[in-house]
Structure formats: C-alpha cells, structure tokens
C-alpha cells in the first residue's frame, strides 16, 4: 500500500506545488527537546491530556488499548511513550491526527511502531507489517499534505493508515463512541475534530488554542471563516454542566484544558476582529489602512505574536485577503 502511494506522490504533488509544511519543521530544526518534560493531566474518566512541546496530545486508555490524538515532535516520542506507560500498559492501538503539521504528527512513526493493532481477515497476507503498529487515522488531506512536502517528509511508517474523505468517521473504542469530524478549510483543510462521546471530551487540534490567534494556514487550505465554523461547531457540540462551566471538556491544540466558556471567548474575539476588518473593507480601506486601525489591539497583549511565521500582522493580512476576495 505504501509503495503504491509513493507512485501517486508525483501526481498529487503537482496539484499542491505551493504547499510546504515549513513552519513546524523549521521550528523543529532549531528546538532543543532535552529539557522538555511530558506532563500528564487527568481530564475525566479514562481521558488524559499530555502537554510538552508542540501540540497537546489527548489520550484515551482502557481495556482494549490506548488511543492518542496527535503525537507532538519525533524527538519526544520516548518521553511520550513513557508517559503513556505511566497511564496504561495496554498496547497503543490508535493514533488519530487532527491535521498535518509536524508538531502534531512528528511522532507518528515512532509511536506507531511502538504500538500494535489487531488485524485479520483478508488484510493479513496482503500487507506486510499489518497489525505490527498502531493504526493512524486522519482525514485524507493529511496524507495529501504529507505527499506535497518535499523536504523532511514524514517517515512512511508515520503516514496515516486509515483515512476518510467523507464528512466524518466513527470509531468505538474502550466502551465509547469516538466521532471524528472533518472541519473543512479551517486551520488547514485537513482538520478533524475528535469527540469522545461518553467521556464528553473534544480534541480540537489547532482550530482552537489558548496561546495565540489561530494560525490560518492558507497554503494548506486554511481560512478564517473555516476556523469560525469550527469554533461554532465546537460550541454546538459542547454542553456545560452548570453555570457555563465544566460539562464538555475541550482539549485545544495548544494551551490549557478548557470548556465551552473558553471556546466562546475565543470565538467572540475572532468574530469581532473579523467584523472590524470586514467593515473597513466595506469602507474601501486598503490593507495598510486596515492595519493602521489596529483591529486586534485590545487582544494583542493576550494573543498576539510579534515574531515567527504567523505574526499578528500576518493574521490581519490573511483575514483581509480572504474577505477582500469574497
């Protein structure tokens, strides 16, 4: 299967010539992981959140095995595996990827090879290695993004093994339904929201984070409206327990554990910023003029970035371009 996919690579990559997963990989090259410790936070029941460097990991552990959402960076795999073992001795059976950025899938190969799954039927004799690694589940656009990467491409053992191209995909694992929903054109066009139905926990990937404005990866199909759609979907799915607190717990791509009220504040902020920029565009403002109005000023100290690939200015420019093209 993997050999066949490599042959398709040259065809698909021509469609994604401008795609480059540069940001996380550039960061990876410079980052020192020696001092990074993987912290484990118990969320609820058999759901945990792992925090380290890169994206948060959601972990579900039970009698059937261990399922994780995302895998951070490759150099952290041993530490992540130790953290998994501190929770459960069961095999790592599933990896679900929320999207294709390397701070979320970098550890795919390492961790998948540390896991295993039960294979049977007519796949055993057709594909070598079947059952000897964890399954990696993702929207097919994750594979497309990986294929489009020409430099430091992810090891093939880390490529998704089970992809979906429809609106959603369901699993049932460790006694609960796990609903994986494609959120198109959000942070990227490969985003999935993962809802652990019985545990009432949502993993959002980078559609939502508490650390900064969203990174809208236009090159990989991201859009501001898609991010807002994703956040509104999360709000529709989440139900607070009491007084707008608790109930559905939400694990963001980066940052602290949250619930509906935190997503609400983030959604409100982005909607207001979008509306401000849209109004200025209606008034005929150029990008420079919009930037001069400082449409994010009241949120910048909390969420803005002045350095890196996706600065506040880039964020405003991205929204401006998107709204101007409508």
């Amino acid at each position: 299967m993997f050999t066949q996919l490599k042959k398709i690579n040259t065809v698909i990559s021509s469609l994604f010539l401008s795609f480059l997963i540069t940001f996380p990989i550039a960061s990876l090259a410079q980052q020192n992981f020696d001092d990074i410790e993987i912290q484990v936070l118990h969320v609820r029941g058999n759901i945990y959140m792992l925090v380290g460097a890169g994206g948060n990991i959601t972990l579900q552990a039970g009698d059937q095995g261990v399922l994780i959402v995302d895998t951070m960076y490759a150099p952290l795999s041993d530490k992540i595996y130790s953290a998994i073992r501190s929770i459960s001795n069961k095999p790592l059976t599933y990896i679900i990827n929320t999207h294709a950025h390397s701070d979320h899938i970098g550890g795919n190969a390492n961790l998948a090879m540390m896991g295993s799954n039960i294979a049977g039927g007519n796949t055993i004799d057709l594909f070598a290695g079947t059952g000897e690694q964890a399954k990696i589940v993702a929207h097919e656009n994750v594979v497309n993004s990986i294929l489009a990467t020409e430099e430091d491409q992810l090891d093939i053992e880390g490529w998704p093994t089970d992809t979906y191209y429809t609106a959603s995909k369901d699993l049932f694992f460790n006694g609960e339904a796990i609903m994986i929903t494609h959120q198109p054109n959000a942070h990227t066009d490969a985003d999935s929201l993962i809802f652990f139905r019985r545990s009432d926990v949502i993993s959002t990937g980078d559609i939502f984070r508490t650390t900064a404005y969203p990174f809208i990866d236009v090159a990989n199909g991201g859009s501001m409206q898609g991010v807002l759609n994703g956040l509104n979907n999360i709000l529709d799915m989440a139900v607070p327990a009491d007084r707008q607190e608790g109930g559905t717990m939400i694990i963001p791509g980066h940052g602290r554990l949250t619930d509906e009220a935190d997503v609400l504040d983030y959604r409100d902020m982005l909607t207001i910023i979008r509306d401000r920029i849209a109004y200025r565009i209606d008034q005929g403002d150029s990008l420079a003029q919009v930037l001069a109005t400082e449409p994010t000023f009241d949120y910048d100290d909390r969420y803005g970035l002045n350095s890196g690939t996706f600065t506040t200015e880039k964020f405003i420019e991205t929204i401006y371009n998107e709204l101007s093209s409508q």
Partner: protein, 272 residues
C-alpha cells in the same frame, strides 16, 4: 512525671505570649451596600470606567462591548467570577471544612447568592495546579493566616470582568484578598493583578455584616434563545460607534477623561 510537669507549666504560661489566635470567618454574611450601590445592585452604566487602572487595550475592548452580548445563550448563565462575585447583589455564606480525625481546618467554602457560585479556599497548604490545568469562574484559591487575618491567593481564573459593563479582566490574572473581621463586621480587601488589561494592581473593598436570620435561596439558571440570530453572530460595537459614549458623563456632569478610566483617575492628583 517530667512530662506532666512540662504540661502543667505550659498551661500556666498560656498567656505568656501575645494572643495571635486565628478567628473564625464562618457565618451568614449580609452584604453592606453603603458604597457603590448603583454599580453593585442595578449595575454600572455604559462607558463608566472611572477609578479603574485600565490601559488602552482594556478601554478599546470595553468600548466595543455591547450588553446585547448577554442575550446569547452561552453568555446567559455565567456567574460572577470570584474576584467580582462579592461586588454583585449578593449575600454570602462562609463555612469551614474540618478534617474529622485531626480537627484541622482543610478549607473555607463560600457561597454567593447571585448565580450561586461556590468557592473553595484551601487551607491545607496544597500547591496551585499547573498552568495547563483548566480555569474556572471561581479559580483556585489557597489561604493562609497572618495573625487573625485570612489572606487568600487565587489563580486559574476564566476570563472575567473588572466591571460588568464590558471592562474585561483577562484569564492570566490573579488576585489577593484579605479578610479583616472586627466583631460582626468584616472588610474584604480584593486586589486584582492583570498584566493584560491593568496598568497596576486594582484594589476594592467589600463590607459585610453578620446576619443571623439570613437565608440564601437556591438560584437556578437555564438558557433560552431570547433573540433569533444567525449562528455565529456576536453583538458588539465597531470602533468609534459606541452610542453610549458621554452619556454617563453628561448625566452626572463628570469629565470625560474621568469616565474613560485609567490609573490617573484613582488618585487625588486627578482633581488638582
């Protein structure tokens, strides 16, 4: 034998040292609204920011705030966060949690009437959670005694408000309280430190008086759709379009530079 002598001597010396006994804060406390009645009971007016050390980001954000935001179902049942709860139209109950075997004080708990938030002030020396733990409306509070004053530090707060007319208080804030009890009176000093929206720590005090006949009723809240709107619409005012600017200043004949807030409005130099 020697032990008995030591015990006897110690008991007789019980008054040798100045009494620094902790006092009990438990009880039914009625809020005394002899200050800021308007703000605390019916609520502040729009664009009334005086006396708060807000920065420009806080001001702009407050000016964009529309009270219609509170009609959104997700905003309807929010309680006041713990730094603001005592400012609201609410009486308070404080009770102790005592560990049965050791009779050690484990925690104080509080309950405020409006929206019925209950808060735990841990007195057992435990650490605050890591920074990636969930934030709540009441935050995570730990207390210690300084003589007979309870000093409380609270972190892990959700985004809240410094005044409930749109002045935001960020989720990276923390605050400190001192509970000074004098007989049947208690003064609660609250100092909020918000590096995002305040230029300096912000102090306010709330006064309480024991009310032996107080009953705090249940407070239920269920959200409803009050206004039919398309999904994702967030009421707010665009920059420069807040229709209420100047209304409060004009009504009470106050200078605009005062009602727009800022640290300079807190000090006597403002009127010099």
């Amino acid at each position: 034998m020697i032990k008995k002598y030591i015990i006897t001597f110690s008991m007789l010396c019980a008054f040798c040292f100045s009494a620094q006994a902790q006092i009990d804060l438990s009880g039914e406390w009625g809020a005394v609204f002899h200050e800021d009645f308007d703000e605390r009971r019916p609520g502040p007016e729009m664009v009334e920011y005086q006396g708060i050390p807000i920065n420009e980001a806080a001001r702009r954000r407050a000016l964009s705030w529309s009270p219609s935001l509170l009609t959104l179902p997700e905003h309807q049942c929010k309680p006041h966060p713990s730094d603001y709860g005592s400012r609201g139209p609410s009486n308070m109950r404080i009770w102790k949690e005592i560990e049965s075997e050791t009779q050690q004080l484990v925690a104080y708990h509080t309950r405020i009437r409006w929206q019925a938030p209950e808060r735990t002030i841990w007195m057992d020396g435990r650490e605050h959670p890591p920074e990636y733990a969930a934030h709540t409306w009441q935050g995570f509070s730990t207390g210690r005694w300084e003589g007979n004053v309870l000093v409380v530090r609270t972190t892990h707060l959700k985004q809240g408000w410094a005044r409930r007319n749109g002045i935001a208080r960020s989720d990276v804030s923390e605050f400190t309280e001192h509970f000074f009890r004098h007989g049947n009176y208690m003064t609660q000093v609250v100092i909020v430190d918000d590096p995002i929206y305040l230029t300096e720590p912000f102090i306010r005090t709330n006064n309480w008086k024991i009310n032996l006949s107080q009953q705090i009723p249940p407070y239920l809240c269920e959200t409803v759709t009050e206004i039919d709107r398309p999904q994702g619409v967030v009421p707010h005012f665009l920059p420069g379009q807040n229709p209420f600017i100047g209304e409060h200043a004009e009504r009470y004949n106050l200078p605009m530079e005062g009602v727009l807030g800022g640290a300079e409005t807190m000090y006597p130099s403002f009127i010099e």
